[in-house]
Point group: C2
Chain length 341, copies 2
């Protein structure tokens, strides 16, 4: 059926090992030009494809790297993945991307699966909070990089954003526009990134003496619907917020839907700032004031860090790379309407 090295060898009347040497072409292996040509020609003629599985088994090197993300259809993750992919391709590796759907069991499943398949390194955007499987990889000194989400008590490589500062800055900005009741619409609360953003929010609320009503913190899911529901809860408060900071691409869509459905004008009725990376932010009915990430750069930094550890012959200390987010001022965040405050 499929043609193997042995088939090629038989066809050429040489030994399989000879074919192997020719095709792997280490130049210093002396081989007669005649047989070399013979083998090359036969290889092309019979459409020989080396069996990577066999090579991997033999060499104990798969030439693959694994990337575990929550959901590749979310542009946040897919653009990071793309940044990684381009570099892996150039380096001659193949990237295998899998989705956890923010589910820890699936994450564990895929860690095992990818390890079973011999990936030489692993990059994970973990579903959190579970980390025993990651600790285990660390224990065996397996090349690993966490992306966007870190674990406080884990000595793992990580490429993360300055979430806390960014969040603080956003609230501060709204405060300077006169807002006192600022809501935070978060994603899943046990995510590192979300925790940090809420920290920044809380700190700013305290520093600027804003409304401390705990109901102003809403949301604990990652879907569009979660964003919609949490926003509705906020808007239905007795004293609804005059400004809203929301977190995440899907959450944003839900929030915008709710605001629109409520018939609220932005920023007259409510000011909004979003942690979001949509290409459409500036084209929205009110251009959206955003905190965005250099996604491709995140991917590249992460992969370079991974490569560094893959190449290292001795154990390297773990590194935490901090990525700067970008605060883009747009009309969706405006002065508070006195009527509301």
């Amino acid at each position: 059926m499929t043609v193997t090295l042995k088939d090629l060898a038989a066809y050429c009347n040489v030994h399989p090992s000879t074919v192997s040497r020719v095709l792997r072409g280490k130049e210093n292996l002396r081989i007669s030009e005649k047989t070399r040509q013979k083998i090359f020609n036969a290889s092309r003629k019979l459409k020989y494809r080396p069996n990577q599985t066999a090579r991997t088994l033999r060499l104990k090197k798969s030439g693959t790297i694994g990337l575990i993300v929550p959901d590749i259809s979310n542009p946040f993750f897919s653009r990071i993945a793309r940044g990684i992919d381009i570099l892996t391709y150039n380096a001659g590796y193949m990237l295998i991307v899998v989705n956890t759907d923010e589910n820890q069991d699936k994450e564990l499943h895929y860690v095992n699966e990818l390890m079973s398949r011999g990936v030489e390194g692993l990059m994970i955007i973990p579903a959190q909070d579970e980390y025993s499987h990651i600790q285990e990889l660390l224990n065996m000194d397996f090349p690993l990089v966490l992306i966007d989400r870190d674990f406080e008590n884990l000595k793992a490589n990580a490429v993360i954003s300055n979430n806390k500062e960014a969040s603080y800055k956003a609230v501060k900005y709204l405060c300077e526009l006169g807002h006192k009741r600022i809501a935070a619409l978060s994603g899943r609360r046990n995510l590192y990134s979300i925790k940090k953003r809420l920290q920044g929010y809380r700190e700013a609320v305290k520093d600027f003496n804003l409304d401390k009503n705990p109901d102003l913190i809403a949301g604990d899911g990652h879907t569009i619907e979660d964003g919609y529901n949490a926003t509705m809860d906020l808007l239905n408060l007795e004293n609804p917020p005059t400004a809203l900071v929301f977190s995440g691409n899907l959450i944003s869509v839900g929030a915008l839907t709710a605001i629109q459905e409520k018939g609220l004008k932005v920023p007259q009725d409510i000011s909004i700032i979003g942690f979001t990376d949509s290409l459409y932010s500036e084209f929205l009915s009110t251009p959206l004031c955003t905190i965005s990430h250099p996604l491709q750069e995140i991917g590249e930094k992460a992969l370079n860090l991974l490569f560094k550890h893959m190449k290292a012959t001795k154990q390297l200390p773990c590194e935490k790379v901090i990525i700067k987010t970008t605060f883009t001022v747009r009309d969706s965040a405006g002065p508070v309407n006195d009527r509301l405050s």
Copy 2:
């Protein structure tokens, strides 16, 4: 280092083949409860991970499926990929997604790479026009499904959209709003989907006796920048179009940028309809009239078709599945402004 079946066997004082049988657990293989437990316990204790590479080699089954897309960071592709991924996961397979960047050489590279790694089926959104590598797969009756882009003279399974009809309908809609100078902003012209859309456009232009100026057809790339440049070309025409139909998610962003930069109001100055699947369409400054795809469904249909062919014992005739797009009327397409026409 990593623990193998042999290690486990030694640890348990049994033969490797016994361990194998226990762990693969075919119930009808009679094995004493005692050794079974012994092996299970040891397996957990030593954190045994089966080497999938070895299994694949032995079984000639990798449990993987390949998906070749142009660019996973484009939501159009990533959402199709996600639809596929969910089903492959449920079926116990692993999906390997690779990016071609609309580059045929990369596509060829990855076809070889994935075949080398023993994928059991392949789904391709081809970069086009080259198809000899696909023909080759067809010749060996390898399970294969094309997505979104077909080849006229290739008997391959394909899941494609009703591009021509959708495009025709969009132009017709604009025509009924009084537009006579309607432009088509396309993506890469040698893509099947784009060709079909242009066919629909041309047919409508003819049927409704619209302006046939060939300059009204613009664009031949897939990037944001391509969309921007082509739109600028259109808007700078001596007789610029009063309506514009554009194709593709990235192209759309470029087009919107150009329109905004030109200071044009939608739909007063120009009406627009987009082949796009953004979640933000209805939130844009003027909600965008769109032709959108049931992306998850496309993925699912494609995978089911692939599975059908993977399971078939004899050669099946190829199938062409046509997917219906959705035309969503929104404000961005409005009556022509008499001042302009």
